[in-house]
């Protein structure tokens, strides 16, 4: 049986998270198909067809699928679900929203946020904010899975040449409708996929002071992140939040500035390759996971660091 990967996209561009989910699909083994459910999303389907290791792209194009409403996208997945042994979504806001709806309709359990593929029915996943890793086995006929994108290296976006097949798009459920979207503007790399992340915490003191991190992030080509404390205090927008309840990141370099290192924050960043912590409190738990710790006043250390780079 084949594996279906649900593409993450905005009708214009295929999102990188799809390539990570494809990597997990290839570890399971079998033909890999990609479903692009969207509106005027032919370009996305073309991009998906070029990804390495994709055997077929299914394009369902219709107005009901324009905004990724869970009711409609789930119905679209269910329309073809019977041909697949595994249905994979990237564990993004969209994947997490839709996957359980598909699983429940199929009367199967869902595996959330897998970290590795042990075999076609056995996977590992984090529990208790990443403080434990469970190896779990599903006996269901269809495995509905969300994939932690930072745990799988993306497949190449070029080099494939899959055929694109058009499906008829589902009708609108009529139960929900899209009203508006408010996009946080950023010229920096996307947080979840960035190679370097600079994050600020409550220690930044104010939204004004948070701008101190801009220069450092620019020098490093980094995305900006924040702890929940900083977001709750209004220093940073909420989509910058790194943690159990925000984004999970695993960059090459993570710089934590004025972040104490609560369990919920560590859950979002402790798989980073190198962690640097700058904090004036030598007892802060962040130093327990940091490769390089600097006990210093961030208002002196950050400008100095920026200058030294």
């Amino acid at each position: 049986m084949a594996i279906l990967v649900i593409a993450e996209h905005d009708n214009q561009q295929l999102k990188a998270a799809t390539l990570n989910a494809l990597a997990a699909a290839q570890k399971i083994g079998g033909d890999v198909h990609v479903l692009v459910a969207g509106n005027q999303a032919a370009g996305v389907a073309q991009a998906a067809a070029k990804a390495q290791g994709v055997n077929k792209v299914l394009l369902a194009d219709g107005p009901a699928l324009a905004d990724g409403l869970a009711e409609n996208v789930a119905a679209q997945v269910l329309a073809i679900a019977s041909s697949y042994s595994h249905i994979l979504f990237p564990a993004t806001a969209s994947g997490k929203n839709i996957a359980p709806r598909v699983a429940a309709k199929l009367d199967v359990a869902q595996l959330s946020d897998i970290l590795s593929v042990e075999s076609a029915d056995t996977f590992t996943r984090p529990i208790y904010a990443g403080n434990a890793v469970a190896t779990v086995q599903s006996s269901d006929a269809v495995k509905v899975i969300t994939v932690r994108t930072t745990a799988f290296d993306a497949v190449a976006a070029e080099g494939g040449s899959a055929a694109v097949e058009e499906l008829s798009a589902v009708a609108d459920s009529g139960r929900s409708s899209f009203v508006s979207r408010e996009v946080a503007k950023s010229d920096r790399p996307e947080l979840a996929g960035a190679g370097v992340v600079v994050s600020g915490g409550r220690g930044m003191g104010s939204a004004e002071n948070f701008k101190l991190l801009d220069g450092l992030a620019d020098k490093l080509g980094a995305a900006l992140g924040a702890s929940r404390a900083a977001v709750d205090a209004g220093y940073a927008p909420n989509d910058w939040q790194v943690g159990q309840t925000g984004k999970i990141v695993a960059p090459q370099l993570y710089v934590a500035v004025g972040i104490s290192g609560a369990i919920q924050h560590l859950a979002g960043m402790k798989d980073s390759k190198v962690i640097v912590a700058i904090n004036k409190d030598p007892e802060a738990p962040i130093f327990g996971v940091a490769d390089y710790g600097l006990v210093a006043d961030l208002f002196e250390a950050v400008p100095a660091l920026e200058k030294a780079l």
Binding site: A93, A104, Q110, T135, S176, F178, S180, Q252, D291
Partner: protein
């Protein structure tokens, strides 16, 4: 309008759990348990809907062991009117919980079910979506703002890259995100009053639901430990280490 709020008893979020040495799970004996933080936000929101006149009755429900009664009493102290415990010692997974809640929804006929977006023990983030699917109701997950008007509800959701607003026709299922509200402190008089509020106990058998786990946990291990780091005396040393030792810049 009736609002149903499912709540879960979990290990308190401040506890750093330990994996059992035989790898069968995490050690939760003698560990402080509390209401899942996202569920507290859900109870608070339901209570505010009642206070604003949008809701007439708030029913809290929990599925699990007998001690989940304490969690329900907390929900009653925040502002729920009555509670239902579906009591079982079987390990409950999200699909089973969604089916149990659906059975109670069929009985109670609420117009709105508000759940937390995820429980901080299994970190699944599934139950609300599964419930919506089983009921064939619309869903709005990760809500940071809820406005009920007539027979519809407008929900602002936290999504990657910003916020989006959806309009759902009632009945509907909503799951809460952190910024939806700040739950109130429960006061002693309200804790006392909560003890007198009705709490009904059911079993999965009475509801006719098979709750057998579908996913088998083969083992639970510690996450890979990070190698111990070093403290650097100044910024110059830090930059030198990052360049020459870690080679990340």
């Amino acid at each position: 309008m009736k609002v149903l709020v499912p709540v879960k008893r979990v290990v308190d979020y401040n506890v750093k759990v330990r994996v059992k040495s035989d790898q069968t799970g995490v050690d939760i004996a003698n560990v402080k348990m509390s209401m899942n933080p996202f569920d507290e936000i859900a109870v608070e929101e339901a209570t505010r809907l009642k206070e604003s006149g949008a809701a007439t009755e708030v029913i809290a429900i929990s599925c699990g062991v007998a001690q989940s009664q304490e969690t329900l009493r907390t929900a009653l102290a925040i502002g729920a009117d009555r509670a239902t415990l579906v009591q079982t010692d079987v390990e409950l997974q999200p699909l089973a919980v969604a089916k149990l809640i659906k059975a109670v929804v069929d009985k109670e006929q609420p117009q709105l079910v508000i759940l937390g977006k995820q429980a901080i023990d299994d970190d699944a983030n599934q139950t609300g979506q599964m419930l919506a699917a089983l009921l064939d109701w619309p869903q709005a997950t990760f809500a940071s703002k809820i406005e009920v008007s007539g027979d519809s509800v407008s929900v602002t959701r936290e999504v990657d890259g910003g916020l989006e607003t959806l309009k759902l026709s009632l009945p509907a299922v909503i799951t809460t995100d952190l910024r939806l509200n700040e739950p109130r402190y429960v006061t002693l008089p309200n804790i006392m009053k909560a003890k007198k509020k009705p709490l009904e106990t059911l079993t999965p058998e009475e509801l006719g639901i098979d709750v057998a786990p579908r996913i088998k946990t083969l083992k639970v291990t510690e996450p890979p430990a990070r190698a111990a780091g070093i403290m650097v005396p100044d910024v110059a040393t830090l930059v030198e280490k990052l360049k020459n030792e870690a080679k990340v810049i």
